[in-house]
Each structure stands twice: as structure tokens, then as C-alpha cells.
Subunit: 108 residues, 2 copies
């Protein structure tokens, strides 16, 4: 369980992976479509998706030759609970979150 915190935080530590999560927040996507905005090989994105899946942050379901990726937000809950203990954070600020999303989306 605390081993899982390792993998969740490590997965979140990479900006490409956070950008992928932000993309999946809007819609489920196939691997190829996830890879499209990045200047990086499909193999690299496939590995990133594998890391996110291993951390439980996304689920991957293969239908035909297409593997669909969808967000699995429950894995973040554990990490979020852990973090909340370190301060009385203000109530969720969705504007700030939107600003982060805008920053995080890969430059085109």
C-alpha cells in the first residue's frame, strides 16, 4: 500500500505523464491518439501509459486492435489523502486547477 504511493508519486513526477492524465480527463483515448501531440515516439508514450497503468492511475482496455485508455481517479485519492495531512489546504480551487491544466498541456 505504501509501495503504491511510491509508484503513484513517481508516475506523477513526469510532465509528459501529467499531460497525458490531463488529456484523459477530457475523454478516453486510444494509444496512438494520446501520442499524437507529443514530439516523441509511440513506443515512448506506450511506456508512459504502462507506468500510469501500473500505478493504477489509468485503465487500459483492448478492443480490436485499439487499446483504450481511461482515467482511474481512485488511485489519486490515496495519495491525496496522504498529502492533505500536511496542512490545512484551502477548499478546492478549480480556477487554479484549470490554470495548471493549461500550463501542462503539451505545446503545439
Amino acid at each position: 500500500m505504501s509501495r503504491n504511493l511510491d509508484t503513484v508519486f513517481a508516475a506523477l513526477a513526469d510532465p509528459t505523464r501529467r499531460a497525458i492524465l490531463a488529456m484523459l480527463l477530457e475523454d478516453d483515448m486510444a494509444v496512438t491518439d494520446v501520442a499524437e501531440p507529443f514530439e516523441m515516439s509511440l513506443t515512448a508514450i506506450s511506456k508512459h501509459l504502462g507506468i500510469l497503468a501500473a500505478a493504477g492511475l489509468i485503465a487500459q482496455e483492448k478492443r480490436g486492435r485499439v487499446k483504450w485508455c481511461k482515467l482511474e481517479p481512485d488511485a489519486l485519492k490515496e495519495a491525496s489523502v496522504w498529502m492533505q495531512g500536511f496542512g490545512q489546504f484551502e477548499p478546492i480551487n478549480l480556477d487554479a486547477f484549470e490554470a495548471f491544466l493549461a500550463q501542462e498541456l503539451p505545446a503545439d
Copy 2:
């Protein structure tokens, strides 16, 4: 700023560093005292503290020959806001947090 999320999440990905944060939650400590419960060299702990400080998660102040470490919970706020966007998490569950702390504290 998004560079900072990299370092914050990377810092949190290591169980030793999370245990250190949990210890500092209870009290400010000197480097040697932080290192005491771990089966690891003082140098290694000093490096971990440097990583936590670089991520802004702790502050270090040298008084005499003793370097005091204290929690700097503001750095977590940014990461926490980012995470909150990925789900409607339940209100802060302090019992669950206490359980995590118990798990995370280094075995004696």
C-alpha cells in the same frame, strides 16, 4: 512552476523522504536526529533532506553547528490542487491519514 511539480512529486516518490516528512510533522529536528531511526548513512539522509529542501517541502536553518529542518507545507498545496482536479474526493479523512502515518514511520 510546472517544473516545480516535477520536483515535488519526485521528492514524494521515495518512502524514506515521506517518512522524514511524517517525522517533521510532529516536530522540527536536526539532521542527525532525522537520520537516527533509519538504517542508512547520515550522508544519505543529508541528501534526502537536500532533495526535500530543493522541492520546497522543508526549510533548513543552521544555528551553530546544528541544522534544523522544518516542514514547509505550502509546497504541497500546489501539488494538492493539481491532484484534486482528477476526482471529487471525499472531505479530508484524518483517520485515514493517521493510518498512513503509522504505516510510513520507519520500522524500529
